[in-house]
Symmetry: C2
Subunit: 336 residues, 2 copies
């Protein structure tokens, strides 16, 4: 087995790969939620001075990247790779948002698992000796996503109780083999899991088995005790999906509920903000990681975190063709 591989899905990072900076910018609704104090900037409206929601999402990535770069005290010339992706068709938020950066670029698509996917690849690239600094970022935008995946916003369609609200926001972390900040220690890469769920308005339920599979894979491969994590956090199962994931793990003998939370369940006040099952979108787990988790780790209030971003790998076309929803979850283990 390859030297740094410790199981079917997991590799161990040998040298410190640190998150030396993190930045998150969110939309107005996210800026009214319980995590509002952890974001770097809250934009005033969903267009942010641009002519379209898609251009606004590109701007979110561009500005978030600039903030993370600035916080790391780096110039673009010091960043060896940018790894980015988003939900828009052909990942245009990333492609247009980063086109002026002139940094070697890898585009990734893992739906809402993208943040953990980019960090997984970034960690391996640095630990493998191929780069000193890698920027990992992603974004989503409520209006652009609704327009593309569901209905025109102008229709005012009623949302079913199992639906989630796509987060408007972008999060970026700068990974480096130098400097200070929490370290990425393990990467557990998800397999595509499709349990046959077809309701595109119930993503939490569709994604929960993929999250559970990756979490079980992580503990099986590493032998780490779940108790050694202060926080195991899935990225955007929402309230319903979180409960299903928790229950699936319990049935497999893994009891984590006293240290388990979900980015989609945390980012909004579900009673007060009328968002049904919680937040979703690539940007959801990205801004919770870059804001809440990173700042808590910097203060020492969180010491060991398992970050498990989850993605539903469907498209409107696949749904219209009667397909079920393949899902994936990628985990990175972070400690101070």
């Amino acid at each position: 087995m390859a030297e740094k591989r410790i199981g079917r899905q997991t590799i161990k990072i040998q040298n410190p790969v640190r998150i030396v900076s993190a930045a998150g910018i969110v939309g107005p609704k996210e800026g009214q939620g319980p995590l509002r104090h952890y974001f770097d900037e809250i934009i005033e409206d969903e267009l942010w001075g641009e002519k379209s929601w898609e251009k606004a999402e590109s701007k979110l990535q561009r500005e978030t990247f600039a903030k993370a770069l600035n916080k790391a005290g780096m110039s673009t010339g010091e960043v060896d790779y940018v790894i980015a992706g988003d939900l828009l068709n052909q990942c245009i938020a990333s492609n247009f948002g980063l086109r002026e950066s002139m940094i070697p670029f890898f585009g990734v698509f893992g739906a809402c698992s993208t943040m953990a996917e980019s960090m997984s690849l970034g960690s391996m690239i640095i630990d493998g000796g191929f780069a000193d600094n890698v920027a990992c970022l992603t974004s989503s935008h409520f209006c652009a996503a609704e327009k593309q995946f569901r209905f025109p916003l102008e229709l005012g369609s009623q949302r079913p109780p199992t639906s989630q609200w796509t987060v408007t926001g972008s999060g970026c972390v700068m990974l480096s083999n130098k400097g200070t900040g929490p370290c990425i220690t393990h990467v557990t890469t998800g397999k595509i899991i499709d349990m046959g769920i077809k309701d595109a308005n119930n993503m939490g339920s569709a994604m929960a088995p993929a999250a559970a599979d990756t979490i079980i894979g992580h503990f099986y491969d590493t032998g780490i005790a779940p108790e050694s994590y202060d926080l195991i956090i899935t990225g955007d199962l929402g309230r319903l999906g979180k409960n299903i994931c928790d229950e699936l793990l319990r049935r497999q003998g893994l009891e984590i509920s006293d240290r388990y939370n979900d980015c989609g369940a945390m980012i909004f006040d579900m009673e007060r903000q009328d968002i049904h099952c919680g937040g979703s979108g690539c940007g959801c787990s990205a801004v919770v990681l870059a804001g809440f988790i990173y700042q808590k780790m910097q203060k020492g209030e969180l010491k060991n975190v398992l970050f498990v971003a989850t993605g539903a790998l469907l498209s409107p076309t696949s749904t219209q063709q009667g397909e079920s929803i393949p899902c994936i979850a990628h985990a990175v283990s972070i400690r101070i």
Copy 2:
């Protein structure tokens, strides 16, 4: 600078990362082209027994992966990662095509540069000690792509002379740190280049500057003499884009025309097959690599190849919003 980094865009693979097997399946039109003898299978019609073109494209990936696996004499359990992507919205050809594989999966999006992107990441993952075997694959499908990016096929729209024909096909290479086969020696990663071209029916011209930028970056970073390559091959600039790329390189003092070709210009007989400027799509460079290039290298008829897959990172939405076309090209250096 990181140990294996030899320039702004280029890394050097230290240990042998070999292409131990390759497979390609193409559509009927590709099967009538000049490279027809290099493909593993030519499907009889664009649906291939499926109910939709999208499902047929998923099947292309599934079956191509199975062929590469079989040729490598591996079981799915021996493949540590699959890295795949395609042109369909949310990359559903890959996500659905590989959902039964149960292999840790990284989805990538680099438009038509995806094959070189997946091989770049796969090489680093193996050389970094994180995996023994990584499958890299991609696909495209003429009908699915026309429907999504341009017009319904039923309209019979006339295609402008600068247009290219999306290849129906999937190509897969299995990378390994053991076995026999050509080695990947260098990876030069592209930056996003946008020269302001807005004509989505003239992708070759849009992508040529990105290809030239990466080729120049490769030679600048490595100090390799262009003459040491038997073949420098861009992936899918087509006839017009190839000429522009050649000219751009010449103006920079790099004369490669005696060893330069393009996958999009090679895959079809442009006079006889009525495809205007040549082939395009993720599958184009993938099947030319997995067929023609791989077999020529196995026979020793090609010894050193620079494979430069090129992608146009636009979407119909970005075009409708008046945006220009950001492009990228990734290069991998392969030698026997």
